[in-house]
């Protein structure tokens, strides 16, 4: 049974309140165990980073360090959070000096990030851990009568060099 440190993001607890319970029910049904990172902060959404990238990276490293303590990969249901965390993680992993600098700011919080965090979106988890074929077996109410125009969010696939995930239609 796959287990993840769950990062719900601000939107699923704000303007899109349907996301949070929906994700919970889907994960329960697909036997994906979640342990919520209740103390994790906002990722900055790329907005805070326009003003202060170091601050954004420290906030995200704080979240990554919490996931390391839990010994779990991170799963989010927000495309933006997933993209922003992945970019921050890439900057931290690619540059040990920068990681050390960020860690000096985490020391006061009694945290240290060792560069091992894995960040995934629920949709990746469904594809990689569950598989689309297995997912088919869980369908109880086929929505074949609907014409769906999905918007998964820009960062679900971009920037690809930070995500390590190929486009999967």
């Amino acid at each position: 049974m796959p287990k993840y440190a769950f990062f719900p993001g601000c939107v699923s607890r704000g303007g899109c309140p349907e996301l949070y319970p929906a994700a919970m029910q889907v994960c329960e049904k697909l036997e994906i165990e979640l342990e919520e990172l209740t103390g994790a902060s906002c990722t900055g959404a790329g907005v805070l980073q326009e003003k202060n990238q170091l601050l954004g990276d420290v906030l995200n490293a704080r979240t990554f360090a919490m996931a390391e303590v839990a010994g779990l990969p991170i799963m989010t249901i927000c495309s933006t959070c997933q993209g922003v965390m992945s970019q921050a993680n890439k900057r931290l992993k690619d540059d040990p000096e920068y990681l050390a600098k960020v860690n000096t700011h985490l020391a006061e919080e009694s945290l240290e990030y060792n560069g091992t965090a894995v960040i995934k979106h629920l949709l990746w988890v469904i594809i990689e851990d569950v598989g689309l074929e297995a997912l088919r077996g869980h369908i109880t109410n086929p929505l074949t009568h609907l014409r769906v125009a999905p918007f998964y969010g820009c960062y679900i696939l971009r920037p690809s060099d930070a995500l390590g995930f190929d486009e999967n239609p």
Partner: protein, 317 residues
């Protein structure tokens, strides 16, 4: 290997000009480029196929087009990359710009936007006897953006330009960064002021598509984000975009996570009556659809930890 190339064609001189798809099965090697495949089609199958190309080495920027839905240089893409399992390859002209014929687009809008940012060095003071000197480290961060070959791929796939033709767009804004960031240029302030206006840096939605498609690693969106920071530092912080960034940062610094209810209010300003009234219908619709963010925004359980980090790294907030 045999591969089918589906080309979106358009002949303006046809009786009823309309775009249509044409399929060409061709025999190529796995290492053949998409450009060479198209040239083969033109030379051996249909001589009327129009496309632009010159250097064939990803230097001139002539052969940008959409391959499998994303813009790029046809000469830089191998058949084995875009059709790993022998799938059909779709080739279309670039987006945003009007099509002249088949894969050839009119790049006038592209050049107009580049010209609008005054893409030339504007130094001040007496001309030096020899060259203008600039410290190496001040120029290094410009090396990436100077790699731009003006192919138009980023403009083609810009998701803002698709709906708002007035946006300056990724190529022109990356070019603007190249001069704002140049220590020899004297017009930083005027440039940043102009770029902060409508059509400028704040109109980017940060979708990352330009970074993804740029064949030269210019990363236009990252340059636009750097310009936003420079504009705010230079004092151009009263635009709606800059206020949004400031409000966002302040709210996260206060509670540890985003208060979506207060973000738009703080961005437009509580006492900005016309803007507040314009938010009302959005708020009402959100309320009726059960999508109103909580009125009482809870603090993060260990908010003091987040606040300490903010106090250290963003002391003015």
């Amino acid at each position: 290997m045999e591969v089918t190339v589906k080309v979106k064609r358009f002949n303006p001189e046809a009786e009823n000009p309309a775009p249509y798809w044409a399929e060409y099965p061709v025999e190529v090697e796995r290492f053949t480029t998409v450009l060479d495949t198209l040239i083969k089609i033109r030379e051996e199958v249909d001589g009327s196929l129009a496309l632009r190309c010159s250097c064939r080495s990803a230097i001139c920027g002539s052969c940008a087009m959409r391959v499998n839905g994303h813009a790029g240089l046809a000469c830089k893409m191998r058949v084995s990359q875009v059709s790993p399992e022998g799938e059909a390859i779709t080739v279309e002209p670039m987006g945003v710009m009007p099509v002249v014929k088949d894969l050839v687009v009119d790049m006038t809008p592209f050049w107009d936007k580049v010209r609008a940012v005054e893409p030339w060095l504007q130094p001040q003071g007496p001309e030096p006897e020899a060259e203008y000197l600039a410290p190496n480290e001040d120029m290094l961060h410009l090396a990436g953006v100077m790699d731009c070959i003006m192919c138009g791929a980023c403009v083609s796939d810009c998701t803002v330009l698709e709906v708002d033709p007035n946006f300056l767009g990724p190529a022109a804004l990356a070019k603007a960064y190249r001069f704002v960031g140049d220590p020899r240029d004297s017009q930083d302030d005027a440039r940043l002021q102009a770029l902060s206006e409508y059509t400028g840096i704040w109109d980017c939605t940060r979708c990352y598509e330009c970074v993804e498609v740029c064949p030269k690693g210019v990363a236009p969106m990252d340059r636009i984000m750097a310009l936003r920071d420079k504009a705010m530092v230079a004092g151009y912080d009263k635009t709606i975009g800059a206020r949004h960034t400031d409000a966002f940062t302040e709210l996260v610094g206060h509670s540890g996570w985003l208060d979506e209810l207060r973000l738009p209010i703080k961005t437009v300003g509580m006492f900005n009556l016309p803007a507040m009234l314009s938010l009302a219908p959005v708020g009402l619709r959100a309320l009726l659809k059960g999508k109103m963010p909580p009125i009482f925004h809870k603090m993060l359980p260990n908010v003091e930890s987040v606040r300490r980090i903010f106090r250290k790294l963003e002391p003015e907030e």
